[in-house]
């Protein structure tokens, strides 16, 4: 059962990283346009250019 000493903190840390990731995505506005995001995922890549890339 000594393995718990590693596994439990590891599991908690992973959970915490997931939560931080969620909070980051929320803060950077990734939930502002869910309909659009659904389509952007399958849209063709924009032609490479040094400008015009959004964000």
């Amino acid at each position: 059962m000594e393995v718990l000493v590693i596994l439990v903190p590891l599991a908690l840390a992973l959970g915490f990283v997931g939560l931080l990731g969620f909070l980051w995505s929320l803060k950077s506005g990734q939930y502002d346009d869910l309909d659009g995001a659904a389509w952007r995922a399958i849209a063709d890549d924009e032609p490479a250019s040094d400008q015009g890339q959004s964000r």
Binding site: M1, L4, V8, A11, L12, G15, G18, L19, F22, L23, L26, Y31, D32, D33, L34, D35, G36, W39, R40, I42, A43, D44, E46, S49, Q51, G52, Q53, S54, R55
Partner: protein, 728 residues
């Protein structure tokens, strides 16, 4: 045509030499539009960002300050086939958006906590039946506490604060039993953990919070979406005003940029976008949107004009004022305050349910404890059992029963063109048994319409339409619109207050007042038949025609009235307009009860009289004179063309030319209320089944968790039934 609008009001500097502009864009409805717009605008030099928000139909632009004229974007979008207007988020929308985001953040925290705690709980549940050491169990319980306590303290705040404010006001709402349940579950679990006991309820508590937050977030998100849509509508109306920037120089600015004290110019054919007082000029004005009166009124220096007033003959200078001045407006504000106070006393279904629910549950828990004590159980065991009763009855399903239906129903209403303003609108609209319609602008369309097109040869209509294009008079504009005219005739002069005239095919051609065209007899004939029509005459050489221009009933008004009557809802017309006009409309629609020339006070009196008879009234109106009645009625709706004040007090706003959304609102709301009641019953049935287990002291954390999620899912699924489309 919008190139001359001054955009400076909407530009925001983002620092570092960039400016930001938000545009509401009409017609973005697919991914293709999104890609097309973003690619096209991104190719403009100096544009650093062009991003479409598909959910809200908006476009956010950023470019180097001073490098570009914002009007360029609007014209570029017009080339692509989209109408775009600058807009500004209003305070209400910003607030809704911030709330939705706050709830999502709390939901995220609660959900992550629930997942991690579940990972710790499952070994405990399975360990309890096998060979887990008590020390290991305690360790897992302490870990759960470490995760859940901070997570609950953060994510359950909306429930705690709402419960506290209800208690402070000496009331009970649904959040009171919820908060008590959460706090007790957590406190017991901590005490049990300290005492090395077998059961802790950390998982159930945090799962409950996550489920409830999910329901609230969906509700809030629907509300935010409606607000955003309403904001777009306001922007797409593109209300502009012509402002004097110096005594001699004018500029077209968005109406939102007009401040009290500014002087604006109103020309014939324009609709006033601000409230104010006339300081110069005389004109006939059409105030039908405001007072319901279709006969034009005369304004002179000193008269008050309101947003929505249509200027018919002369040019006016108006000083904008901050909601004061006019006696009509003062009186309406006073009536409005009074009526809104009465409405705030309405008790929502959820509040009524929790008023019954909380005492029953808390009494049951107390009796359980006393019962076990009397039976000879130890004090500790009795208290733990009593708390288990509170945890299992903690109204997870009850807390979701109403918001879940509300979310789904407001989504369905959104689809049929109804935007809800207030949270309890669905409940109140569902309860109504009588509809009072205003006539002008509500049963009729706000735009003028040519009534006797069938009597006039097509080529004459087309010619008259082309001639009418040269006039700014709204009645002539209606003829032009109906004729579908696009190319004006050359060399036409306007005779102020009379009409337009010129030469066509070598013969004189005229359009205007009947006397101007020598068609008085034709005009009188029309006025005898239809006393509220405005007549515009047309002559070409010797031939003379008269167009009867009037407000037309909404195309489906009669069907909607019949539909309401079929549903057992009484229909009545109460209008500020003159008697013949109201009688004609009532006869056409088959409405037997109607009142004409009703003042705002009398409208309220009529509603109060009906309330005394036990009726629940849905008021549908648009004018400024309807605003107090809209607030006084049990529920209210306004068309989207209504004056600002009416839209603000109405429970719901409906879109489009048709009246069908009113019928849809009543149908969907009734169905939703039925589902809300059903959901409450489901929650009660669940409690009736679960409480005996809790009273018997048999509830384990596993049962608590399963019962809670099970009941929530059932209630959610039942709510989804509100989505089934009504056939109207």
């Amino acid at each position: 045509m919008h190139a001359d609008i001054d955009f400076s009001h909407y530009l925001k500097s983002t620092g570092a030499g960039f400016v930001h502009l938000d545009l509401a864009v009409e017609g973005i409805n697919c991914a293709g539009c999104m890609a097309k717009i973003e690619r096209n605008l991104s190719t403009i030099p100096d544009v650093t960002s062009a991003r479409v928000n598909l959910t809200d139909s908006r476009l956010a632009l950023e470019w180097k300050a001073g490098a570009l004229d914002p009007a360029l974007f609007v014209s570029r979008l017009a080339e692509l086939g989209y109408k775009a207007y600058p807009f500004e988020r209003d305070d209400a929308e910003t607030l809704e958006a911030r709330r939705a985001q706050g709830l999502l953040r709390r939901l995220g925290v609660a959900a992550f906590a629930a997942m991690n705690v579940m990972m710790l709980s499952i070994p405990v549940w399975s360990g309890n039946v096998s060979d887990m050491l008590p020390e290991q169990r305690d360790f897992f319980h302490w870990l759960s506490a470490l995760i859940v306590l901070p997570a609950a303290a953060y994510s359950a705040q909306p429930f705690f604060s709402s419960a506290l404010s209800a208690l402070r006001a000496r009331g009970v709402n649904m959040d009171v039993p919820i908060s008590i349940g959460i706090v007790l579950a957590l406190a017991t679990s901590v005490i049990e953990t300290i005492n090395h006991a077998e059961h802790a309820y950390f998982d159930a508590a945090v799962m409950l919070i996550a489920f409830l937050l999910a329901g609230r977030y969906l509700d809030q998100n629907m509300r935010r979406r409606t607000r955003a849509f309403a904001g777009n509508l306001a922007a797409l109306k593109a209300e502009t005003a012509t402002k004097f920037v110096s005594p001699t120089e004018i500029k077209t600015v968005p109406a939102a940029a007009i401040r009290p004290g500014d002087i604006v110019l109103l020309r014939p054919g324009e609709r006033c976008a601000v409230d104010g007082n006339v300081i110069e000029g005389r004109s006939e004005v059409d105030q039908s949107l405001i007072t319901g009166e279709t006969l034009p009124a005369m304004v002179t220096p000193g008269s008050a004009v309101f947003a929505g007033t249509l200027v018919r003959s002369g040019t006016l200078r108006v000083r904008a004022s901050a909601a004061s001045g006019g006696t009509l407006l003062d009186e309406i504000s006073r009536l409005l305050d009074h009526a809104l106070q009465a409405r705030s006393r309405y008790l929502r279904l959820a509040e009524r349910a929790s008023r019954l629910y909380a005492p029953v549950v808390h009494a049951t828990a107390l009796l359980t404890m006393l019962g076990w004590l009397a039976w000879g159980a130890s004090f500790h065991d009795s208290i733990v059992t009593a708390i288990a009763v509170l945890i299992i009855t903690c109204p997870c399903a009850l807390g979701l029963a109403i918001p879940a239906v509300q979310t789904v129903a407001s989504g369905a209403l959104f689809g049929s063109g109804v935007l809800l303003n207030s949270g309890d609108a669905i409940e109140r609209i569902a309860e109504i048994d009588r509809v009072i319609f205003d006539k002008t602008g509500t049963l009729t369309l706000p735009e003028l319409d040519v009534a006797n097109l069938a009597d006039i040869p097509d080529d004459v209509v087309r010619l008259a339409g082309r001639l009418a294009l040269s006039s700014r008079h709204p009645v002539a504009a209606a003829v032009a619109r109906y004729a579908g005219a696009a190319s004006p005739l050359p060399d036409i002069q306007e005779e102020p207050g009379q009409g337009v005239h010129g030469l066509h095919d070598g013969r004189p051609i005229r359009l205007g007042r009947p006397s101007f065209c020598g068609a008085d007899d034709l005009a009188n004939e029309i006025l005898c038949r239809d006393p509220e029509a405005s007549v515009v005459a047309f002559s070409h050489g010797e031939s003379r025609y008269a167009f009867a221009v009037r407000q037309r009933l909404r195309p489906d008004a009669a069907e909607v009235v019949a539909g309401l009557v079929r549903m057992g809802v009484a229909v009545e017309i109460v209008s500020g307009d003159r008697e013949p006009a109201v009688r004609l409309a009532s006869e056409t629609l088959g409405v037997h009860e109607w009142r004409a020339e009703v003042s705002p006070v009398d409208k309220i009196d009529r509603i109060e009289e009906l309330v005394r008879q036990g009726c629940k009234v849905l008021m549908v109106g648009d004018g400024l004179n309807d605003a107090p009645a809209l607030a006084a009625a049990h529920a209210s709706m306004s068309p989207v063309t209504a004056t600002h004040m009416s839209q603000a007090v109405a429970d719901a706003v409906f879109l489009g030319e048709r009246l069908a959304p009113v019928l849809a609102a009543v149908k969907v709301s009734r169905k939703a209320l039925r589902l809300m009641r059903q959901n409450l019953w489901l929650a009660i049935v669940y409690n009736v089944l679960a409480v005996p287990i809790a009273i018997a002291g048999l509830v384990t954390p596993l049962i608590a968790a399963a019962a809670m999620s099970g009941s929530s899912v059932i209630v959610m699924l039942n709510a989804l039934r509100a989505r089934a489309r009504e056939t109207i």
